[in-house]
Amino acid sequence: MKHNERMLLSGNEAIALAAWHAGVALGAGYPGTPSTEILEAFSELGGRAQWSPNEKVATEVVLGVAFGGARGLATMKHVGLNVAADPLFTAAYTGVSGGMVIVSADDPGMASSQNEQDNRRYAVAAGVPMLEPSSSQEAYDFALAAFEISERWRLPVLLRVTTRVSHSKTVVVPRDRNGPPRNPHFERDVRGRVMIPANARPAHRRLRQKLAEIEAWNETSEFNYLVPGDTSLGIITSGISFMHAREAAPHASVLKLGFTHPLPMKKIAEFVRRMKRAVVIEEGDPYLVEACRAAGLAVEGKPEMYRFGELSVARVRRILDGDTSPEPVPPPGKPPQLCDGCQYRQVFDVLRKRDCIVAGDIGCYTLGVLPPFEAMDSCVCMGASIGVGLGLRHVLPPDQARRVVSVIGDSTFVHSGITGLVEMVYNPPPHGHVLIILDNLTTAMTGHQEHPGTGRTLKHEPTGQVRFEDLARSLGVRNVHVVEPRAGSDEFERVLDACLNSGELCVIIARRPCLMIAKRLKELELTGAQTKDRR
């Protein structure tokens, strides 16, 4: 890349480029829209990147990287941070030696998610610094800065983006700056890193002290700036809402917040004091507006109706006009569906015919809820199919309990289903249970990423493989069946009936490669075979 070259990058690509320029030693994450492309792009650039089984493990691996004095990047979608919350909260206590940045890619409007939680709350709850870019240039600049901030205060930093920042392509002029050379090495710090209560109590005080220092520093940091305009209207905003707000109100004064935890409250108060009318424009939860009001500032927020979904130029105009009339509803587009020829079509067809009660999970196959199948009764979070199915089996009357099945995809099973399977063995319902693992040998929904069950790395190179049938048997499940659902075969149907009637614990692995990777898989198997031959 030429110096000062203008590039058109998505926010995710910009973060990947920054990670590359920052000298990140390892990037780890779990695929999830809208975060997936960060690690893929980082790997393409030459960075060392890996898919971990889930976000908790990824975050812990990156914490270890940062304990070792190197720079580490963990990436995930918003709900992934729920899974990674456990290490996050205590990593704020232990702190880090090398730079540690966690990207949380939120999905307001739920383009491809099960909820629209606002992860800015996590920065407050865990007590970590947070940066919120509003364009790819800022995604690049803030990601680079996040590593410096992390090292300066020895804290993990949350880089919070949203779908429109992650997936919009905008112009980036990279600095092409490599991070200072790092020499990872172990420094023993038992009191700082072993969080027994005696060590954690002072660690919590240290964390609050750091946050107080960061707040004071943030009052004059370059991340928060004023776009001068009329004083009749002042807008306080962050992230992508900044862009919508400037377009909707080109004459307004705007206080653009890029470093949004801890907030520069003095700077905000000074801005509000100078404005005749001050309005907070933010997507999702009333995070900024609540902080302003808690500080005693008279600011307007948005009417509750704008809490739902993404903001846009049109919606910001309405907020500024105080317009709460019903919004125009765009004509419906064509909904997505299971691909023609997808093997899961047969599975859901069979489940529907038996009127099964289906505890479902997260992935392509969640589309089994739509017509013509309508064969899914719950979908909550990664792995919930198993626990929810077991709970239903425990309490429903026997005629209903016997129809309950849990349906989970291969990648989802590795992510959060294994502990559910342990639960099934440990606390079996009276009439047994049937777990169906839909194994299409890829993480299909997010764009066909590898996972531990495929035995290939993020770069599609051979590595250790977790075999679901071996795992289930080793846990003590006696009825483990591997079947291939395909047209013209009633094998899946027969096995399912036998399992449903058995009253025992059963695992059915419905294995067939996703149609969309069939060709790539053949090529990879060929290369894999050659690699083996060479050994």
């Binding site: 809208p34 383009a111 491809s112 112009v171 992508i240 004509p331 587009g333």
Partner: protein, 163 residues
Amino acid sequence: MGQVTNIVVAGLGGQGVLKATDVLAAVALRAGYDVKKSEIKGMSQRGGSVTGDVRFGTEVLSPMVPPGEADFLVVLEPTQVDAHRYLLRPGGILLSPEMIDLDKLANKKGLNVAMLGALSVHLPMPESDWHKVLAEQFQQKFHESNLQAFTVGRQSQQKNPGS
């Protein structure tokens, strides 16, 4: 903010909607404009409706084209015309796939490129830039058929200049 040109490309998953917006955005970047391109991925691979927004000008703020402000609506699938018409501004130009005679395309999958050809007639960027970007953004083996599709698209506008 100076004058911004707003374009929305709409179609179904698998039709190359996002590829078309990538090409368009790259051509605008090459011409020196500020450019933003927005899309919603995720469920799109499963055959659902997909739209991509491209905005270019001296300074572009929001990456999304506000409804009723699209200067051009480029649709790759006839069933998607009505669902997206509300995005056009009054007097905006609709380019629909009926304009392209599919039988004239060397590669039937080149409809997205043909539609870009049709759009290019209405935009200020030189044809040579489009050719360069098409060469950059696609595999070499598709280049000839893409240039052919692009030309078919351009010709469609000479006799049928949008609606």
